[in-house]
């Protein structure tokens, strides 16, 4: 059983602040909540932030909810939309500092693909490094992050849920781009893209070759799904950050084109 905490409108719709529900994944727990509290509650849930035992998670993420976990349903906060009438330029609250991105800052999601990191056998260092480059070099705002094992179906599912959410412009994966048997991030990515942008991979490999001939073995894919750009980065901190650096000049334009698609 999972302890589910409800706040604000979610609490009112459910008529309770706390409820015990069964389910192994976040999706299952929220499904049980929707069955109990109705379709309106389910709809609201899709706009909520979900926090499990203190960590923000994605609905589609598989780990949850071991027995006794606490899952909180947090509706969007009131902030920022303070004064729509006055048009005070209060819309974006990037935590990053001005870094010369486009006027509507790039909203980025960083997904680390790694069996070991997903199993918490080691700490994910690449994800945070990619976030730092995205913030400082692209002026992007990191609006979400994820951690997933090297399982193509899970990777594809995460990409779909983010790209189709309308909340992000750019999804950066890292890991799973080599030649080992479980390195299948490019395949999981291509499977969900509307169109590929092979030039981005070529640019990353070209930049990598200046550092090491091994860059020729990297298989990163990239392209567009809906209005989001998806780019695979390698799994090492160095490889991932250098590859993203190589794209700094072209990604803002790619994002702009995807938004108008």
């Amino acid at each position: 059983m999972t302890q589910v905490l409800l706040f604000a409108r979610a609490r009112e719709l459910a008529g309770t602040r706390r409820v015990e529900l069964s389910g192994v994944t976040v999706e299952e727990v929220l499904g049980a909540a929707e069955a109990r509290f109705g379709a309106g509650f389910g709809e609201l849930c899709r706009t909520c932030t979900i926090v499990v035992d203190g960590e923000t998670v994605l609905r589609s993420e598989f780990p949850t909810a071991s027995a006794g976990s606490e899952l909180a349903v947090l509706p969007p906060v009131s902030g920022g939309a303070d004064d729509p009438a006055s048009g005070s330029g209060d819309q974006h609250h990037s935590t990053a500092h001005d870094a010369g991105g486009p006027d509507d800052g790039i909203r980025v999601v960083v997904i680390t693909v790694s069996d070991r990191a997903a199993a918490q056998q080691y700490e994910d260092l690449t994800g945070p490094a990619v976030e730092a480059v995205a913030e400082h070099r692209l002026g992007a705002t990191v609006i979400g992050r994820g951690l997933v094992a090297d399982v193509p179906a899970r990777i594809s599912e995460l990409l779909i849920s983010w790209c189709d959410s309308g909340k992000c412009d750019l999804v950066l994966t890292n890991g799973g781009t080599g030649l080992a048997p479980r390195d299948l991030t490019p395949e999981a990515t291509r499977a969900v893209l509307d169109v590929e942008a092979p030039g981005l991979g070529e640019l990353m490999r070209h930049a990598g070759l200046a550092h090491t001939p091994l860059a020729a073995l990297s298989r990163q894919a990239a392209g567009r799904r809906g209005r989001s750009i998806v780019v695979n980065l390698p799994g090492s901190v160095k490889g991932a950050t250098e590859s993203l650096e190589a794209l700094v000049e072209v990604l803002p334009h790619a994002v702009m084109m995807a938004r108008t698609s």
Binding site: T47, P76, V77, G79, G80, A81, H93
Partner: protein, 165 residues
């Protein structure tokens, strides 16, 4: 958060004496939720420092009308177990980013009548540029990120106010 004294917050209302650290060492971080009226003067007294020449205070007050609707009061709800730690982390990050010597935020929870102060942020720095910039980022981040929800109590009913509203 490393340079802050956990005794200062712990989610305790700031009107309680948290034993603030006023030495020349670590920056002071104050963060909390409060059910009762916020005393701006008391809060400023807790964070002002002899080695700083600038104190910027921002008060967010409840407004009526809002978006064309009369409002009687606002009802604020927070995740009382976790929002204080979240506020504390935001203040600590802004303090570090702007080189502040102290930063504070106190947000009301519960029903706040129109015209009252719902949130106060304070940024304390040696010079005014950092204090203004720090105060601005504090209030912007708290409004955008903190797990605090507000419901408008109107003459004709109640309505939750979202960021997307």
């Amino acid at each position: 958060m490393g340079d802050t004294d956990p005794a200062v917050f712990e989610g305790a209302p700031v009107t309680s004496d948290g034993g603030s650290v006023m030495g020349a060492g670590a920056p002071v971080v104050v963060a909390g939720l409060q059910r009762s009226t916020i005393s701006v003067a008391d809060l400023v007294d807790r964070v002002r420092r002899d080695d700083c020449g600038a104190v910027v205070v921002f008060e967010g007050t409840t407004r009526s009308p809002n978006q064309g609707h009369d409002v009687i009061a606002l009802d604020y709800e927070a995740w009382e177990d976790r929002t204080p730690a979240q506020l504390e982390r935001i203040v600590a990050e802004v303090v570090t980013a702007h080189g502040l010597r102290a930063g504070a935020v106190v947000h009301r929870v519960g029903v706040v009548p129109v015209g009252a102060t719902a949130v106060v942020v304070v940024a304390v720095a040696p010079h005014r540029d950092a204090a203004f910039a720090g105060a601005r980022e504090l209030i912007d981040r708290i409004k955008a990120e903190a797990w605090i929800w507000k419901k408008e109590l109107r003459p004709d009913g109640e309505i939750w106010v979202d960021g997307c509203a």
